[in-house]
Symmetry: C3
Subunit: 458 residues, 3 copies
């Protein structure tokens, strides 16, 4: 309705600029507009990533039994709060603070470092040089990284569900986000030693998902399987989901959240990169959903909704590292195989009697590794700007693939070993597992004195 | 906290520009800023539209019986994946590729055409001229259109719920998005023959909702009603919703999604158009919610939540075509009548023994038609820029109204006839309906071997 | 993939500008870009705030009994529709129209005033001067304020749950949004008398949350407690939540919505303010979640998920007024105490036999007051731009604190007294409370003739 007014603006930018400046105090300069645009992109995508906490809460609780629902929802709720505290006090500085190749040391504790963001490049002066490539205020950088740290912690929750003490889980979450996630994160995104070896992980298949997966796997190994899951004689008793409605709501929320997770990792409103990443992310996801559903249908005779959900998530995890480095057609193949991998990994874990109630290890660890490898296989140099070099299937030889494999091993060893130490320490100090009676009755009563559902029995 | 620094910028844009350029490599030009801003608008609104898949899943599953919940959730999940595949391989090129007035033929198969987006207007060179009016990268255009195509397919799911074979539904969804939706879409949004007759459909009352509604109606006609729905002697047995909590979550998610669907269809960050569309969309929606609730309350004696939900959705569907072409006051009237129409249509379908378990035909088809007619009644020429001419009630005579009616009929005939052919073909090849035993027991066991809910009976 | 093309642009903004202008019709000027950026920020954050309606619906219904679920969902659904009508017809003009210090009088009824938005400052000419500081179209301003008005009304719903007549609740909601909320809102955000006394409320701890809380408290006082809640002899019978899954979904949706509520209240894409507000908002929230959980755990022996949820919401309400005026470290303390306050207030209300089924008064009223006080305690002058002066703990003395306390009292008196009058009038005319039989049987049957859940009893 103001079209007339708008058309009255003069026809060259210079003239407009001076007029605008005279008449309207709130017009921004190109520099300011760039910063503002990048900032709203970062905070809105961060909000989507934050919302993934709900997704994880619902997939995990839905896939487990109703008698443990309050406990699982509580874990997935408080884990983000405790992650915020841990990342604010310790994690951010260790991860992004200037320091050695192994660990950040400047600007530790509560965002305490000097910082002149949104200045970028050489103009940046402060404690967090490794993240000075994005021209947004430091609080926006912090908030975006905070929600990523929270994601890593919440992955663990699924692995240890239905048997862990609430308090002990809270303690581990704090330690993970304070002292595990930011260290390996520093190696890769904090300008550390892995970044200098030519290892690439765009949005965190390794930094976030594999680390969460290794920490969760460590928890499973220390806790052991749920009562009654593995029967004598090597038989396995399926423990079905208590609410597939919860499960599917959670999955769609996660899918939506990934449109923040991957494209948001540009941390700048770069239209080509963002559009590219949206498409590779969605493509790998839908292909993995289709391939996991199909393979499971063929193997088990009927299409299982839980496996479709895990297939979808597997594709999303797998494309997280390579989303900005590969073609859309490559993302089709990455997703196709991610769906197969998750189906196989679920069956493998049950063979090994590793009791992962929600399939978090197949989704986040197996496909975190697979996605990181995919950079080495499918990367196209500078396809959205980053000089990754070409992957094996694109004529680049083994160089990039070997760098990726080295990174996978290094991060895996650190995350698994330190997590095992933390889990054992917590077990020794606080105890890790609820009593048999409590586990059988359900943790909702034992840990919380509450029922999740009352009055549904019509 | 950088306010001081910001105020230090000089006071004319020219000087700022050169300074900014010297000191900060990441400041964008006006051209780049425009493209970046338009792109984040498109991808964020597309994300909201994507999220509507969850809304449809919950409204449909909530409105049906618990014994079919896994099946309904599965359908609403995989339908988006299969729609993505169909639109990527066939749909996009047929809809937006350069070609005849009837069908696109350039740039078919997997976004295969030449394209120099984000160039616009005469500067555009490539295979997708009909969508070159928006200055965003082609992948952003594709992703936005992809989530719209997915919406059309998911509408069908509600119509055929509680009796269709999972596999057969998947096949139909693929065919719909590959060969029905993009053809009529090409006529209107792809620069085809209807666009040249003066037919207007801003965000898809016809292109998306009516097409989904016709395809679903065809499915109902071929499938027949659910067992036990219509009793001998013309009596009707209501089959109540199994979870109105699911239903209302779904409705709010859809309402939110429509704030992407309608304003996002600008595909550019045009502040006046966007603000206008937000308000007309919300106004029609709340009025239809009020009018459907009130009419149903008067007719049946008590306010039915399911009818309030369908009223809300009816208003949203109705305002989809005219949202950018009518005043806010007109949107009040459009919504008011949409609410009445949906209540009447639900009763009419039951009279005709057309068994639509969730009211998808009253919502999407009846109100898709109503909304498209409203352009002809209420349009105000260039109210947000588009030269629609004036509608009947605004002094424009019958011209626009007749163009709208022609389009409604043409699209309806094509969508209904081709859908009927596809449904019959699938019935002949794969079978369409589950067995009586399976329908009575619930499709969750028969098709998926799963229960949606376990352990709620406290 | 267009990087080459982009790099070909020349290296000064002036030259780019003329080239861009010649070649591409859709590049925007700096003025237009600013308006467009601010507008998409406002409408997207408004959409998040709109989504809070779902959050309130789920927290309230989840915390109450299954037999009242349809009624609670219906109330939370229609309350937004009726609020839209009330704010469109009366509220907006009374709140933001030019007028006296007490009430707006220009541009009443259906956005009827003259307006040349997005012109700002002295360039603005029209009926809504008090909101002319934001340079977006008037429809965007209206929509943002509309969703805030809706929030105030939906708070009331929780207070009066499980016993109020559906129709009477609808009438009160209309009156609240038409004649209570906009009056006190005019005093503060509409350029009225409180704004001139140095009272500050950035995003509405008082304007929105306290007003909703006072109106709800009035409703509780007039309605009395639910049957069976308080037993003879001063004993209290806990009425547990029927679905903590609903409760937690609702809470996460509200947390997400607050990332629209608080940062969006900038109503302009100011990167520093936005980043700052994101961080203070999130920090107060996670600290309150932790402190409420911990205190409740200590007092009652087990961590209660309902209390964790209310702790989270308490932190969000408390930081709403001061989010733009205090440091991140202050937000830690504000949140810490908000968590304690909500635990204490829940226990206090039960002592006083004030039956607030969902804890809305402790969350919205107690913490709305607390947050408003916090501005007086912790404010740092111009920390994100606003000249609040310093708070007590920051060397500013009592001035700001006293202004805040005066505002709290003035708004409280008006909102409580007028609400009481409206509740009594409705009681006299329509009746307020359902019959004992209906309350015992559940309002779902009595008011709606529906069950919320069918077929869960496996």
């Amino acid at each position: 309705m103001n079209l007339g007014k708008r058309q009255a603006y003069c026809s060259t930018l210079m003239l407009v600029a001076s007029l605008a400046w005279a008449s309207n105090a709130h017009a921004k300069t190109a520099e300011e507009l760039t910063i503002a645009l990048d900032t709203i992109w970062v905070v809105l995508t961060a909000s989507l990533v934050f919302f993934m906490n709900l997704g994880f809460a619902l997939v995990e609780s839905g896939f487990c039994r109703s008698k443990n629902t309050v406990n699982i929802l509580s874990k997935n709720f408080i884990v983000f709060a405790i992650s915020c505290l841990a990342f604010y006090v310790f994690g951010w500085g260790l991860m992004f603070g200037n320091g050695s190749g192994f660990i950040g040391s400047e600007g530790l504790l509560m965002l305490g470092g000097a910082d002149n963001s949104p200045a970028t490049g050489d103009a940046y002066m402060g404690a967090y040089k490794s993240i000075a490539w994005t021209g947004v205020p430091v609080y926006a950088k912090f908030f975006f990284q905070l929600v990523f740290a929270g994601t890593a912690a919440t992955i663990v929750s699924g692995c240890v569900a239905e048997r862990i003490k609430y308090f002990s889980f809270i303690v581990f979450s704090f330690l993970l986000v304070a002292f595990v996630y930011p260290i390996t994160g520093h190696w890769i995104w904090g300008g550390g030693w892995l970044a200098t070896t030519g290892f690439w992980d765009f949005a965190g298949s390794t930094v976030v998902h594999s680390v969460g997966g290794w920490a969760g796997l460590a928890g499973i190994l220390v806790l052991g399987p749920r009562l009654g899951k593995y029967l004598p004689g090597g038989k396995m008793k399926p423990i079905p989901a208590h609410s597939l409605t919860s499960g599917l709501i959670g999955c769609f929320v996660l899918w939506l959240g990934w449109f923040g997770f991957n494209p948001g990792s540009t941390m700048a409103a770069d239209p080509n990169a963002i559009s590219h990443i949206f498409l590779t992310t969605n493509t790998a996801c839908f292909m993995a959903l289709l391939s996991a559903t199909a393979l499971n249908w063929i193997l088990d005779g009927k299409p299982d909704l839980g496996m479709s959900i895990n297939g979808c998530l597997a594709g999303l995890v797998a494309i997280t590292a390579p989303c900005a480095f590969v073609t859309v057609k490559a993302s089709l193949i990455i997703g196709l195989l991610a769906g197969f991998i998750v189906v196989g990994a679920v069956k493998l874990l049950d063979k090994l009697q590793i009791d992962d109630p929600v399939g978090a290890v197949p989704v986040h660890l197996f496909n975190g590794v697979w996605g990181t490898i995919c950079v080495g296989l499918f990367a196209v140099d500078k396809i959205t700007g980053a000089a990754t070099g070409n992957g094996l299937f694109n004529g680049g030889g083994m160089t990039l693939l070997i760098a990726q494999l080295k990174g996978i091993v290094a991060v895996g060893v650190y995350a698994l070993v330190v997590s095992l130490i933390f889990w054992h320490a917590i077990k020794a100090i606080f105890g890790l597992r609820v009593s048999k009676e409590e586990e059988e009755e359900g943790l909702d009563i034992g840990e919380h004195g509450q029922f999740a559902y009352i009055g549904f029995g019509k």
